[in-house]
Homo-oligomer: 595 residues x 2
């Protein structure tokens, strides 16, 4: 393999004592220039690190003009730094390069911000000058980590015999819950392609095609309102296999994630990952993506307070609901904080929240204590393991509201900051369907997910389980998968339950239903988001930190200013035109009223 | 590493004598069923190959219902085939599986075509049922080859320390010669993203960012009229490096292509590849992408016929043109074939074509022989190395027309069919600019290509060379690259020569020109098409054979019927509407007049 050194003989960060007396050439950016005792000291940085260059202005009259981030080439001789000036924190800290020749490859204007990890810069400015932002050490490290992640994924799946197959990105709309992004066709004027939300149907077709192990690192698109740290385009590992079952999928994904964690974090994650059912996740953590790095689990108090004189508790249970609590531990709260908790519980959907503090003498202090019998108090305290100083929070509501509210409070109160620990978790046995606000039924994952039992699906669709599963890392859903429906009749039944009549199903998915008719093997797969995985492994709080060129919440690239207005003639070639409203907006922008 | 067997104990193609007496489970598709002496013989195929299953209909009453491409699971015991019935051509040909249990995993309808490489099927039908087409051995092999290619590319570049970086696909228009595909923005109604024709500007920004070695296997988009085997979307290896020069880029690409050729074809390509300049390629082969697997090179006959009495020759030279010829070798032509050659030459832009046949006695037979002196005839024959029986073809025209016409005829007459031999070639020193039909100047590669010499560019732009280079395989241009402009002032000068005034340059590329102001390192790179590379290595004649789900020449997917009409409300959310013409088309389609 030919490694090409290019313009340099040595990478800046690789020059050490072993090179003393050698003539070397380094290239890079001037990270800092100090003038000290009439001599100029330059920290020259390239991708590998930093090396110190020493230049006498008498010999190098131009050295005083070298400003920060000038790109230069330096020829010189390596020598030991004078005793007492070594920097043991730097791999190159024992040596310096005595400059022979210094060439400016490219000057740099005054920077909009400092190239270091210490300066706080607002995100819009960072995105406007992303090419400088990416020079900062942490961002450069994020780029490297992302590359390591995709490399580890591919290496693992290569070794396991998976084929990488590219599926098209100019496709038809598929029903995956978000809006499609559209691409007008010029050759078929007035018609549109959609950009894929995922390669779902194509990867299933590959299973019909006899590709038994498929993967792809796929660009996907969702035109969502940008809440919760989303981007219009994102990248996922997409994977599918035939003639295998859930445990085969899970074991494969575990191998992949273990390899990524090892290459980025240098840790060996324990396999297999823990597994819990969706029901258990909701009961214990009030979430389908529990953060299991800490306890504070939800406890069912219903039996203890079923006959209580306290109407809130008794009433909730009588009306089919539940009373549940968490032990928030020893929280040294003022009263106002407890009030805030109640407000937060209401935001999460609760009608109210009961709080109790375990006093030093074991008694419960609470506004509702007087309504509870001694035995009820004792049982609550016992079930929640309350010790003196502990704060107990209790929700009496429908099951779903009670666990969701307590799950939300649990995260607010107990979640570790950062991601030093890595807690992977499988959540399995998801419901097949969900009820929408208007009472209609929709799919939980997507309409191609296999039911756990056909009989159950037909008799009791609201309760029916699916063969769907999610992988969760530190309370963040990384991805999901399922065993798919491979029988076209079952697929038709699922469409029917979803309220898609036979005619609509045939019009929209007839081609896919037909494909299933030609000896389709049982199959299943998975997909997880690369952006979120790398974000967590790098300890970042936003996916924008691990996406090389992300967009803002309104879909703008502050650097290139994409998207932009387009000539009417270009649009008419595509068989489209702006609406009157859009034209007004554009004319306003042209007049400089809006940018 | 956990390899998951899934539903099977053995892959069908892996069952051998070593497994005799073992209980095995195989899965796959019924490739063939023969009933012979009251016994059913099933060829069961999975991704690894085929194994024979033998079933007695008395024990397996359902076996008679197993039709072609049924997907089944078979449990049974491996045994040696009876003597005389072995098939030495098959890896599993010494054994068979005596069926214990046969389970139908999925039945198959009657197939639209046979799953083999022998049946001729029209392409539209193949694309309509692509999931069955991909089961054919040759297509399955193409999928595997493509996966091997991308795997070899990534492994090589990983080893060389390149970072894989994903650049955005919702971008602004860039000037790369083809129409952009557009994506309307919903959050910024009336504005549009473009899908990238290449990651050109973003990879240059990565160099500004300090990423010194970048690569990406990138999906790109060009809205061209589908001539010459193009697709709206295609995949390229995109690569860029800082602080290196042309030879570094070329050596890296050679490593990559050698690895791909080795993994797909099992051959070691000789490095370095041959190199010729663009000028030499045009002079010798009449093409900037010469197929050097055969000779038939173009020879300059001008000196030999400069003073000829034959007006066509003399006139061409007097008016600044040239007379050139090729020796088409021993072509056993009827006269009509020679006339066809003249027609073909006219298609290629010639005004006419002179042909000569070397007779057994060494004389030239030709309609124009009588106008040429004995010495002229002798020199022509000598320069072209004419032997008895050889056909000599001569064009007298401007330099460009003469070499282009002879280059085209050379391919028609001499090009080997198929791609058994692999002849890689670098073409270097391309012109910087080209003249357009209207006499204006445009870029040859793209406007970010570095001129070979600034002085030359300023003084004589039409003749100026660039630091651009192409890689050619068997006469097919695989890809191109260049050393880029890293000095914003040079970039501004190039824009100016291209007729882009300063204001327009600033409006369209101001952000990029500014990026170049911050210490941009010298850099250069390359991109080549994966589709074409795999096509040639697989010996296919069209890229559609190596694209899993391609579209037709009009951009249609005959399987999913993408693109499609979209609801008006969905369009209005995007700030656009159909033109009146498109609405008419749609209403016609709705009425069933057009599909």
């Amino acid at each position: 393999m030919v490694h090409r050194p290019g313009l340099r003989s040595h990478e800046a960060g690789s020059v050490t004592e072993a090179d003393v007396d050698a003539e070397v050439t380094v290239v890079g950016w001037v990270q800092r220039r100090r003038d000290h005792g009439g001599i100029a000291f330059l920290d020259v940085r390239d991708g590998s690190g930093v090396v110190q260059v020493v230049a006498d202005p008498d010999e190098h009259p131009g050295v005083g003009d070298l400003k920060m981030e000038y790109c230069i080439r330096v020829e010189g001789v390596v020598r030991l730094r004078p005793t007492g000036t070594e920097n043991p924190d730097l791999p190159t800290g024992m040596v310096e390069i005595g400059a022979g020749e210094i060439e400016v490859l490219a000057p740099a204007k005054t920077l909009p911000f400092m190239i270091d990890d210490r300066s706080e810069v607002d995100e819009l400015t960072r995105l406007r000058y992303r090419y400088l932002d990416l020079r900062r050490p942490k961002m450069a490290e994020n780029l490297r980590a992302r590359s390591k992640a995709t490399s580890a994924i591919r290496r693992t799946l290569d070794d396991l015999g998976f084929l990488e197959v590219e599926t098209p990105t100019l496709v038809n709309s598929t029903p995956e819950g978000a809006r499609d992004m559209l691409v007008p066709s010029r050759l078929r004027q007035g018609e549109f392609y959609a950009l894929p939300q995922s390669p779902q149907l194509f990867k299933q077709l590959l299973m019909v095609s006899g590709v038994e192990r498929y993967f792809q690192i796929a660009r996907c698109y969702r035109d969502e309102d940008f809440r919760a740290d989303r981007q219009l385009e994102f990248t996922q590992l997409d994977l599918e296999g035939a003639f295998w079952d859930r445990d085969d999928v899970l074991a494969t994904i575990e191998e992949v994630l273990m390899a990524v964690a090892r290459d980025i974090r240098g840790v060996d994650v324990e396999l297999p990952f823990k597994r819990i059912t969706w029901q258990e996740a909701m009961d214990r953590y009030g979430s389908d993506k529990p953060d299991i790095r800490f306890g504070m689990e939800i406890v069912d108090l219903s039996d203890a307070v079923a006959g209580s004189e306290f109407g809130v508790f008794a009433g909730a249970i009588e009306s089919g609901g539940t009373v549940r609590g968490i032990n928030a531990g020893s929280q040294d709260w003022p009263r106002s904080r407890a009030d805030n908790m109640t407000e937060r519980a209401k935001e999460l959907g609760a009608k109210g929240l009961v709080w109790m503090v375990v006093e030093d003498d074991g008694q419960l202090r609470s506004p509702v204590a007087k309504f509870l019998s001694a035995q009820e108090q004792s049982e609550i305290k016992g079930l929640l393991g309350g010790q003196p100083g502990d704060v107990l929070l209790i929700s009496a509501d429908t099951w779903k509201t009670a666990v969701t509210v307590l799950g939300g409070l649990r995260l607010d109160l107990g979640r570790p900051s950062g991601h030093d620990e890595l807690a992977f978790l499988w959540v399995v046995d998801f419901p097949l369907f969900e009820e929408e606000d208007d009472g209609s039924i929709t799919f939980s994952h997507h309409p191609f997910t296999s039911p756990a039992s056909l009989d159950e699906m037909r008799e009791n669709p609201e309760q029916a389980l699916s063969k769907a599963y999610d992988v969760v890392l530190n309370g963040v859903e990384l991805g999901s998968g399922s065993i798919r429906i491979h029988d076209p009749d079952v697929q038709r039944q699922v469409f029917e339950i979803l309220g898609i009549d036979a005619e609509t199903a045939n019009r929209r998915f007839g081609w896919f239903l037909e494909a299933l008719e030609y000896g389709t093997p049982p199959h299943g797969g998975f997909a997880f988001g690369i952006d979120r995985l790398v974000m967590i492994l790098q300890g970042e709080a936003s996916i924008r930190e691990v996406i090389p060129f992300p967009k803002t919440q309104t879909g703008l690239d502050p650097m290139t200013e994409a998207p932009t207005w387009v000539d009417d003639t270009q649009l008419r070639e595509l068989g489209i035109d702006l609406t009157a409203d859009s034209k007004l907006r554009r004319d306003g922008a042209d007049a400089g009223e809006e940018s």
